[in-house]
């Protein structure tokens, strides 16, 4: 369920680092808690989040909204935005179906790869959400 080669945050994001790029998404636990997702918004401060934007670890890069609630997405790593997943604009429900795969949110070129060490392993994340239940 939770890929071993991903790293996780306590705010329920994941990052998968390949080379100098990190792919970011929300966890299966997060999509389950939110329920039917209807909007995904990419935003940094008051501006739309676009490729080229520099982002900082722990800062909101947008929000995910379900029928029930809205939740901020916190960037798990610092760097420069390479791409946002535009497919989610028309099919936000993909986040409920494949949160660890095709429904990734943002790709970022890492500026501080060492930050990944601050994040949780798959095992630690599962222990964390187990305790939260």
């Amino acid at each position: 369920m939770y890929p071993e080669d991903y790293r996780y945050t306590k705010e329920h994001e994941w990052v998968h680092v390949e080379g100098d790029t990190g792919t970011i998404g929300i966890t299966d636990h997060a999509q389950h808690e939110l329920g039917d997702i209807v909007y995904v918004d990419f935003k940094y401060g008051r501006e739309a989040l676009k490729p080229g934007q520099t982002v900082e670890q722990g800062k909101p890069i947008g929000s995910v909204e379900s029928v029930k609630a809205v939740s901020d997405i916190y960037c798990p790593v610092s760097g420069e935005v390479v791409e946002t997943n535009q497919a989610l604009a028309d099919a936000p429900e993909k986040l409920n179906e494949d949160p660890h795969g095709s429904a990734w949110l943002v790709k970022i070129r890492l500026s501080h790869p060492d930050e990944v060490a601050n994040l949780l392993s798959a095992a630690d994340y599962q222990t964390y959400i187990g305790a939260e239940k």
Binding site: D36, Y39, V67, K68, K133
Partner: protein
């Protein structure tokens, strides 16, 4: 974990947890907010049938020679006009005209009225009623005696009819009968909080889990879905039914909440009557009105409403409407601005988003 240790649980709690429902703290109760998908649960009720555990709701029995006098004195609707076996929606008010709660009043007999009240308000309601009981009547908080299951949707009757000898078609809308469901004594009421036809049954908590399973089996051929409080909320919002703590609360009167139809000023004195009569004469300052989002965004409870760019009111409930496929909400606006077809804006995370006031209910079932 410790935070949930104090939560109250219905007799169906273990059933919900074993089926993987997502549980939330709802007014101090550990309740299912959704099972698999809120949207699918919502659509099941609109198109076929869904069932809800609403055992957290409170029940109060008012009995005795002056049960009617006490009930009538404490509620806004005319309890004296109810026939035995009939139900009406009513308000329990403070002297100042604000809501203590909104309730269903069932007339069981000339000397017995059965109230269904909101879960989080039940102790408050009970104390409120007792404080005004200068009548020859007895008031009892009997919530522990009942589990309540709501079966709602166009196939609700066909589902429930399999389990009871009572002719369900003969129970008119907002009437009830005491019978049996699957061999268990049950109060069967044709009421609901979804905007669909359906039934709410009151049974002993010890029978709750077995009955839940039997109803699931009976509704299997119709694709029945267990539904959580999430779908219950979106369904009631589409039907524009008020939710305590949102559309109505201690600072809102029935006139403001567009619930004038449950106030019978001509029936004689009742708690809150003087305040309501005086407000009617002066005129209300604000009124509840529905809206639809035009721009992209979902209004949520508490969001600010702008008219001509200036703060004018607040959102009481807002959500995507799964059946109508648009984003809807209810809000309070100054009376002069609470007219249908007005362009307004909802402030969504510091950004005004366009909306328009509309006629309600948003959804009305075909009769």
């Amino acid at each position: 974990m410790p935070a949930t240790a104090a939560l109250k649980a219905t007799c169906l709690n273990a059933t919900h947890r074993s089926t993987g429902a997502r549980m939330v703290d709802f007014g101090g109760w550990d309740m299912p907010v959704q099972y698999a998908s809120l949207v699918e649960e919502h659509l099941a009720v609109r198109r076929s049938v869904g069932m809800f555990d609403v055992s957290h709701m409170g029940e109060i029995d008012i009995t005795g020679p002056e049960a009617l006098q006490l009930t009538d004195y404490l509620t806004t609707n005319a309890a004296g006009r109810l026939k035995t076996g009939q139900i009406h929606y009513s308000g329990l008010l403070y002297e100042h005209g604000g809501f203590v709660d909104d309730i269903l009043v069932h007339k069981v007999a000339d000397d017995h009225f059965f109230l269904c009240v909101n879960a989080a308000n039940q102790e408050k309601d009970f104390e409120h009623i007792r404080a005004y009981n200068h009548f020859d009547a007895h008031v009892r908080l009997s919530s522990d005696d009942y589990a309540q299951i709501a079966i709602q949707g166009p196939n609700a009757r066909a589902t429930l009819q399999k389990l009871t000898a009572t002719d369900l078609a003969a129970i008119r809308y907002y009437w009830f009968t005491d019978g049996a469901v699957s061999g268990t004594p049950a109060r069967i009421a044709r009421t609901g909080y979804t905007g669909e036809d359906g039934y709410e049954i009151y049974v002993a908590p010890s029978d709750g889990p077995r009955l839940w399973q039997r109803i699931l089996e009976a509704g299997h051929e119709f694709g029945i879905k267990p539904c959580g409080l999430g779908a219950r909320n979106t369904l009631r919002l589409e039907a524009k039914m008020a939710l305590y703590g949102h559309e109505i609360h201690a600072s809102i009167t029935p006139w403001e909440a567009d619930l004038g139809w449950i106030v019978k000023l001509d029936k004689g004195d009742f708690v809150g009557r003087a305040a309501l009569a005086s407000q009617k004469e002066r005129g209300i300052q604000r009124k509840l009105i529905g809206f639809e989002m035009c721009g992209r965004g979902i209004a949520r409870d508490g969001y600010e409403v702008l008219v001509d760019g200036a703060p004018a009111g607040w959102v009481t409930s807002g959500s995507p409407a799964p059946f109508l496929n648009k984003n809807i909400g209810l809000c309070y606006l100054p009376l002069a601005q609470a007219t249908v077809g007005r362009a307004i804006e909802i402030v969504i995370r510091n950004q005004p988003v366009a909306a328009v006031t509309v006629d309600t209910p948003f959804y009305k079932r075909a009769k």
